[in-house]
Symmetry: none
Subunit: 230 residues, 2 copies
């Protein structure tokens, strides 16, 4: 695993020219880069940095790409990463061997930069299961729809289902002022006969939980209208 924001790509190749070319293009595409020039360095770098994607040249001094792949897969950090083998050979035997050793993908020289980047992106996409439901973020508050989790800063908050949906509504449209009626529709569902004052109570509870984690109240009361986040 790597830092939250930009994915880290580890380039493993013994030819400086190749490394420079790849680095330049991947940086331009918005990735963070690390490099290693042989298999042993690569294994160490994986353990230390925990890259998201590893571009592994087939022909390497000291430790072959295939063997490096095997060793990387044996480490905890390497198991999480996506390995793309890069090779000049086009024989199918190698390709199969590479994939069966634990590589996730295989790309053959000569390749275009566009394809390489597309492959890196595709591998990243499938690496991150969180991609299904976008996490909502507002300042230091974070809501993950898939895992049903809410965090403020680094603290994990516990919300009941109703308050969870309520917060989700607020965070989906920061700044939007919701009337109590609109919130009842959105959070409680249509055709429901509930006192509009109930919204106040839940907003209050949500505020209490949010503020218990520190920081100021992110929910604004709009007198005569309703509530809004921010």
């Amino acid at each position: 695993m790597s830092d939250a924001d930009t994915p880290l790509v580890l380039i493993v190749d013994d030819e400086p020219a190749q490394v420079a070319l790849l680095s330049y293009n991947l940086k331009a595409a918005g990735f963070r880069i690390a490099t290693a020039k042989d298999g042993e360095e690569a294994v160490l770098a994986v353990a230390e940095l925990g890259p998201d994607v590893i571009l592994l040249d087939w022909m390497l001094p000291r430790l072959s790409g295939l063997e490096a792949c095997r060793q990387i897969r044996a480490t905890p950090e390497g198991r999480e990463a996506s390995i793309i083998m890069v090779s000049a050979r086009s024989e199918e035997g190698d390709r199969v061997r590479g994939l069966d050793t634990g590589a996730d993908d295989y790309i053959i020289k000569p390749y275009s930069v566009a394809e390489l980047i597309a492959r890196v992106r595709a591998n990243l996409r499938r690496l991150r299961p969180t991609s299904t439901g976008q996490a909502l973020q507002y300042n230091d508050i974070r809501l993950e729809p898939d895992s049903y989790r809410v965090m403020r800063g680094s603290e994990n908050l516990h919300l009941g289902p109703t308050e969870f949906r309520l917060l989700a509504a607020f965070m989906e449209r920061p700044g939007k002022v919701w009337t109590r009626e609109a919130l009842l529709d959105r959070v409680w569902g249509r055709d429901i006969y509930i006192d509009t004052r109930t919204v106040d109570v839940h907003v209050g509870r949500l505020r209490k939980t949010l503020c218990a984690a520190g920081g100021d109240d992110p929910i604004r009361t709009v007198r005569g209208a309703g509530y809004a986040m921010g």
Copy 2:
């Protein structure tokens, strides 16, 4: 999602000869097979069967492979699957477009059966590690699909088959919240008529066994939604 044991591969191609060839070889490799002969059928089949891997021909009648890919990705079941585009075109533009549309992998005709199977396996490995015998680890809990063993710390745990599959489901996607219905599909199998409350009982049993080995409860109850690991 699919039945517990053997991975399900959906073959989408309009040429019967192709389908027959692929079916034969993939069955021989130990997969379950389903087929569709155009994009629309494919989208329906995905929703109904929840395959693990989808082999999607680029050229399809009615709905192009690219568009089918997009639609499949828009469904809940399709988001969980691995899509491999199969194409006669070798132009890089198509390849990039395929990967960017949401395909996980790309294979070009003519391909060898060995490579195809290797790619299917490679995609499964990251999608459903247990199906390829990879050990799963979450904190101090370790599950080995091959030897059918579960350990917490250094202690060996004994689980019944159902609880074993249940734990495997949780560990394959740490953090994911499973509804009781989804767990019934994944662990018990589709088309099975069992009280959803039964899930509670098995989660309880699993918890008891896990906690008996020391450490806190790794399974989180999400009220109104289901359960998740971590």
